[in-house]
C-alpha cells in the first residue's frame, strides 16, 4: 500500500507508450495494439482489487 502502487501504474503507462511508439515506427501495428491491450488489462487488474478494498472499507465504516 502507498505510493508504490501509483508508481507501478505510471511505469506501466510510460512503458506501454514507449513500446507503442517503437512498434509503430518499426511497422508492427498489430503487436503495438496487443501491447496496449496487455498493459491496460494488467492495470485494470490492480485497480479492480483496490476498488474492491475501497468498497469494503466504505461498507464497514458507514455500515451500508
Amino acid at each position: 500500500m502507498g505510493v508504490d502502487l501509483i508508481f507501478k501504474i505510471a511505469a506501466i503507462g510510460i512503458l506501454v507508450a514507449v513500446l507503442n511508439q517503437v512498434l509503430i515506427r518499426s511497422g508492427r501495428e498489430e503487436q503495438a495494439m496487443m501491447t496496449t491491450l496487455a498493459g491496460l488489462i494488467v492495470v485494470l487488474f490492480i485497480i479492480v482489487q483496490q476498488i474492491s478494498t475501497l468498497f469494503d472499507t466504505i461498507k464497514t465504516i458507514f455500515n451500508l
Binding site: 500500500m1 502507498g2 505510493v3 502502487l5 501509483i6 508508481f7 501504474i9 505510471a10 506501466i12 503507462g13 510510460i14 506501454v16 507508450a17 507503442n20 496496449t36 498493459g39 491496460l40 492495470v43 485494470l44 490492480i46 485497480i47 483496490q50 476498488i51 478494498t53 475501497l54 468498497f55 472499507t57 466504505i58 461498507k59 464497514t60 465504516i61 458507514f62 455500515n63 451500508l64
Partner: protein, 128 residues
C-alpha cells in the same frame, strides 16, 4: 504526521497523471483513480475511529440511534457517487457523471424516506 504523506501522494499522483495524459489518456485516468483510492484508504482508519467514538458518545446521552445510522449511510452513498462522478468528469464523460449523481440522489431519497415519514407523523400528532 499522516497529512504530509497524503499531500506528497497527491502531488506525486498529479504529476504522474499530467505526464501520462500527453501520451496515453487512459493510463492517466487510472493513476488518478488509484491516487484517490490510496488517499481514502490512508484516512479510513481515522474516520472509522472517529465515527465509532461519535456513536458511543451519542449512546451515552441516549439520543435515538437509528437516524444517525441513516445519516451515515447517506454520507457513504454520496461519497462513493461523488468519487465515481468526479472520475467520469475527469475522463471527459460529463453525461455519465450526471447520471451517476442522479442515481445517487434517488438512492439517498429512498434511504431518507423513513425519516421523512417520522417527521410527517410527528407533525400530525402535534396538530389537533
Amino acid at each position: 504526521m499522516d497529512i504530509f504523506k497524503i499531500i506528497i501522494i497527491g502531488i506525486v499522483g498529479t504529476v504522474l497523471a499530467v505526464l501520462l495524459s500527453d501520451y496515453r489518456k487512459d493510463f492517466a485516468i487510472m493513476v488518478g483513480l488509484i491516487t484517490g483510492i490510496i488517499i481514502f484508504l490512508m484516512v479510513a482508519n481515522l474516520l472509522s475511529e472517529t465515527i465509532t467514538s461519535l456513536i458511543n458518545m451519542l449512546k451515552e446521552v441516549d439520543v435515538e440511534f437509528r437516524y444517525l445510522d441513516v445519516a451515515l449511510k447517506i454520507i457513504g452513498v454520496s461519497y462513493l457517487a461523488r468519487f465515481a462522478a468526479q472520475i467520469c468528469r475527469d475522463a471527459g464523460e460529463g453525461a455519465i457523471a450526471i447520471k451517476v449523481e442522479m442515481a445517487a440522489k434517488v438512492v439517498i431519497l429512498a434511504l431518507s424516506l423513513p425519516v421523512i415519514r417520522a417527521l410527517i407523523q410527528l407533525v400530525i400528532q402535534i396538530l389537533p
